[in-house]
């Protein structure tokens, strides 16, 4: 199966197989009017299988959220058909406005205008806690 190369845009590579649609939704790629290709279960030397998303446009991507969802991802910036930059993800120290605190007793669950904010407390195990109530972030709270 072949997908056309992109001239100017972004390739989100090494996505853990099966996570591409989650990333598609979280990055709100459905709102773009450029070409977006989602490749699922592409072969990968490292992981056996991987997903890839190709976006035929230069746009700002929220690297923090990508790092949180899947730190194995690499983001390639493509200009004039060539990769000009390769970014490896890492767990961000803070994630603001993306994960929701699920503690019903937390002030951020009560007052609508408070931005839900989490900080990395354990890099080794990828554990984030709400800055307000210290409740642990769960993946389904995205």
């Amino acid at each position: 199966m072949t997908i056309d190369s992109i001239r100017n845009g972004i390739v989100i590579d090494h996505i853990t197989a099966g996570k591409s649609m989650e990333i598609y939704h979280i990055l709100e790629l459905s709102k773009l009017d450029c070409s977006v290709a989602i490749i699922k279960n592409a072969s990968s030397k490292k992981a056996g299988k991987k997903d890839i998303i190709k976006i035929d446009s230069q746009l700002d991507i929220n690297m923090d959220i990508l790092g949180y969802i899947d730190p194995t991802i690499t983001v390639n910036i493509v200009k004039d058909g060539k990769i000009v930059e390769k970014k490896h993800m890492e767990l961000p120290d803070h994630i603001d406005g993306v994960i929701k605190c699920k503690n019903p007793r937390c002030i951020s669950s009560i007052e609508q205008e408070i931005v839900h904010s989490f900080k990395l407390v354990d890099r080794e195990n990828g554990i984030y806690r709400c800055v307000y109530c210290e409740t642990k972030a769960e993946p389904e709270t995205l």
Partner: protein, 304 residues
């Protein structure tokens, strides 16, 4: 830059030592501090009732020569009209120099601290933090034992929901030679995250038990109340509320210099007869709470 106190870990070991040193000076010579905060105002913003904590803060400010204003329940504040915590804090900052806030929602004092230009003290946010109780406990231990290191500390009762227990474990874990004995029924044992992140994470020795066998070894025994409001099921509460009661009889085997603490209020977990035992420190603890709050107010207001 203004400083707030939201959680006990906001304070370094050096800052804790400094607060304890100030409190000791106040205890030695209270008159010297009786006008230190003249002209300053403390706002006690209590969105849920807590008489003893509020009175302790108010007594602290009054003994420093300052004055006090505030409210003691959400119904008498603009929160009842739907005002946000941030707006309330910003508004009250126009009338006071420092705020002590109790709120049923976890993290509310942090929201207030982000919005207000004056120092915010968390006077308890739901089941989350209550750092001035921990400061009180630290001053009590220091006053009674003369040190914060090399102590075997027993906690007894509700170790699952008791935030004072969790905070004190966190705070004491920073000192050398500390070990813990965690005495509770299985249903009310210390949460996994405290064991994993704090105790195992720092290689601190601890024993979990549902017996009193370790009592003769303890330097400090911290009793807690099994709180009815933490249970969804009345039957569970009734079954566990009397699980661990400290009696005068039981204390016969304890060390002669044991320090018995309790954050109060007590229900029946310490027999009244124990009050007469010189090892009972829980009422002194309430007094120390006022002194450490005085020290904290001085420190956050930048008063020398």
């Amino acid at each position: 830059m203004k400083k707030d106190l939201i959680g006990i870990t906001d304070l370094s070991k050096e800052e804790l030592a400094e607060l304890i040193a100030i409190a000791e000076k106040i205890i030695e010579d209270p008159v010297a501090y009786s006008e230190k905060c003249k002209g300053k105002k403390l706002a006690t913003c209590f969105f849920e009732p807590s008489t003893r904590t509020r009175l302790s803060f108010e007594a602290a400010m009054l003994e420093l020569g300052g004055s006090v204003l505030g409210f003691s329940e959400a119904n008498s504040s603009s929160a009842a009209k739907g005002e946000s915590v941030a707006d309330t804090a910003r508004t009250i900052s126009c009338y006071a120099d420092i705020i002590a806030m109790r709120h049923p929602k976890e993290g509310a004092p942090m929201v207030a601290a982000q919005a207000a230009p004056i120092p915010i003290i968390n006077a308890g946010d739901g089941g989350h933090n209550h750092p001035t109780q921990t400061l009180t406990d630290l001053l009590t231990i220091y006053r009674e034992k003369g040190r914060l290191s090399d102590l075997k500390i027993g906690f007894c009762g509700d170790l699952k929901f008791g935030r004072t227990v969790h905070s004190l474990i966190q705070a004491m874990s920073r000192y050398e030679g500390i070990s813990f004995v965690l005495i509770s029924p299985e249903e009310l044992c210390v949460p996994e995250y405290i064991k994993k992140d704090v105790l195992d994470g720092k290689n601190i020795p601890y024993v979990e038990t549902s017996s009193w066998d370790e009592l003769p070894e303890l330097d400090i025994l911290y009793m807690t109340r099994v709180q009815r409001e933490r249970f969804f099921n009345e039957a569970d509460y009734m079954r566990l509320k009397d699980a661990f009661i400290l009696t005068a009889d039981r204390l016969q085997d304890a060390k002669p210099d044991l320090c018995i603490m309790h954050p109060l209020p007590r229900v029946n977990e310490i027999e009244r007869a124990v009050d007469e035992d010189p090892r009972a420190c829980y009422f002194k603890q309430a007094l120390y709470g006022k002194y450490i709050r005085m020290a904290l107010i001085l420190k956050l207001l930048g008063v020398e």
